[in-house]
Symmetry: C2
Subunit: 349 residues, 2 copies
Amino acid sequence: MTRTRPEPAGPVTLKQVADHAGVSISTASNALTGSRAVSPASVQRVLQAAAALGYRRNEVARTLRTGLRNTVGVIVPDVTNPFWGGMIGTIERQAAVSGFHVALTNTEFDGERESRALAGLVSRVDGIVLFSTQPAAATLQPLLDMGIPVVACDEVVEAPGLGGVYSDNLAGARDAARHLVDSGGRVFGMLEGPEALSTASSRRRGFRAGLREAGVPDSAVHSVRAEYSFEGGRDGIRRLLREHSDVDAVFASTDNQAIGAMLEALNAGRAVPDDLLFCGFDDISWSARLAPPLTTVRQDADGMAAAAIDMLLEMVTTGAAPRVEVFPVSLVARESTRRTLTASPVTIT
Amino acid sequence: MTRTRPEPAGPVTLKQVADHAGVSISTASNALTGSRAVSPASVQRVLQAAAALGYRRNEVARTLRTGLRNTVGVIVPDVTNPFWGGMIGTIERQAAVSGFHVALTNTEFDGERESRALAGLVSRVDGIVLFSTQPAAATLQPLLDMGIPVVACDEVVEAPGLGGVYSDNLAGARDAARHLVDSGGRVFGMLEGPEALSTASSRRRGFRAGLREAGVPDSAVHSVRAEYSFEGGRDGIRRLLREHSDVDAVFASTDNQAIGAMLEALNAGRAVPDDLLFCGFDDISWSARLAPPLTTVRQDADGMAAAAIDMLLEMVTTGAAPRVEVFPVSLVARESTRRTLTASPVTIT
DNA sequence: TTGAAAGCGCTAACAT
DNA sequence: ATGTTAGCGCTTTCAA
């Protein structure tokens, strides 16, 4: 490589470009940003000078001056999980289209880290998409006071002035209950999520409501609490079946839980769906790939992520008011609830 | 909420804190950062004033002044994939410990987006961890010229002055070849990755070398090219088996490929492992959960991510020289290569 | 131990 | 159409 280092003396500044082009610094700035009219000749010279010197605008200085940070913060509980991973991808793509960067923070379900992240993002970002794991984030108030728009996604955050994009968890869980009943379930088990999560409580309430509407007595419903993870599901189903071996239909609060539980049940010699029905929530890509494929309630994760970042950018750029959007969900029936020979008195619905 | 807005007039500045505390702005600054001695009394007053006004330091201004950005850029091909998702999590955690933020960019395997991201991160970050999909990123030169440390991870990037953290892909693929031979494979198929990726070519070369060393003739080895994804594996195995139905052992360049391929083969009525052996590469969490569990070459993804961010932070903070670290990999034998009744003349090894 | 003031690189208001 | 200059909020000399 016969390459002579052009400028060993640090980054090239706008002043150097201006000097090199023989114009003033403001003409150089305007030629580059196009925020006011500049003669074609000058533009030409500035562009050439910039290229020759390898000029790159210092975004930090620009931000300090304009107040435009061109960055959105994203706070998620777990990047590893494809459910959030996919949403991050969507947000990043959409943000990039508008010229925004993404500052990511992973909290690993730790409320403390979530609060610290929130605090640390002030003065670095124009707005935040928050996948919270704390029901009422008191830490939000300073941000809102400072006028930094925040859109909560997936998990409900109760705070005035907050945007929100959520799934209709209640309806989805009710549909799941109805579907399990229709598929021949008689004694029901539910893997609930952590108490503090709004999705967990909505799904619990929806499921109970659905069963009640179908005339299932409370005595035929058993619940255990479990983490939102594969391992959580595995442990949960063990506890559930140990105490209630007569359960023949299981609803899990997430697909990860459902899959952990289903594989554990298969391992323990139970037959799915003939002996035990399984229904999850989310429709992650793996759910369709298992044997048997998992019935689940599909969330429109992409749609929600897109709605969240769109709303946020709108709030940031045009000062739009926050809204709350609730996305419908849909039951996807697969083999894990399809009994070949069912004893249930289901007729054509 | 009976809560009076404290400061409707935007963010609190250091000057306001200083005034409120009755000290000069420089004393206030030093009291807060502790970079020079300040009387306990003043410290006390400044701290109280800051708390009372809800002061938050403007990181952008600080950055402009000090040149410390306290941010590392991370560029990955696909956040959705837990392989990268996990590494992002590790990087984010480690960075946070040192007080660094993470600016994430998702390229979706698009070299163009990778280049744009690289360019956009200059002047916003102190260093970059790059999961590249372009063999020789010419776009890197400007960054290196400006003295911004870059550590490539996973995919090899050839450029002087670059740090590197890689797996020993060659050895891993060679182990896989040996293992498939030992497990009774006779006619071999390989799902290769995209030509441009260094991991793909290393794994291809390692696999061929391993087979050759085991005395397998080239005529008994068939390859097809496939994307690094579930769908890629599914399509790849179809093409492979259509043309070479006598293949009885398959090595895929990634677990995602392997899983797509194996499930497709099972769907098509092939028996695994009795009829067809499968071995992947990565050891993602799902590989152990399938039926049958997938034999694979485990990469120490966490270790690599930690090494990459550690090296980068060292380069950023102490100006350490870049290094290249190669992590060992290990074969994890599971059911997908364990023949119950094998016709192979394997004796106790 | 403290304060005054320069200046990081840029944009925008104010001049011309 | 272009140049001059103030100043974003902070850290850090330089002086006291």
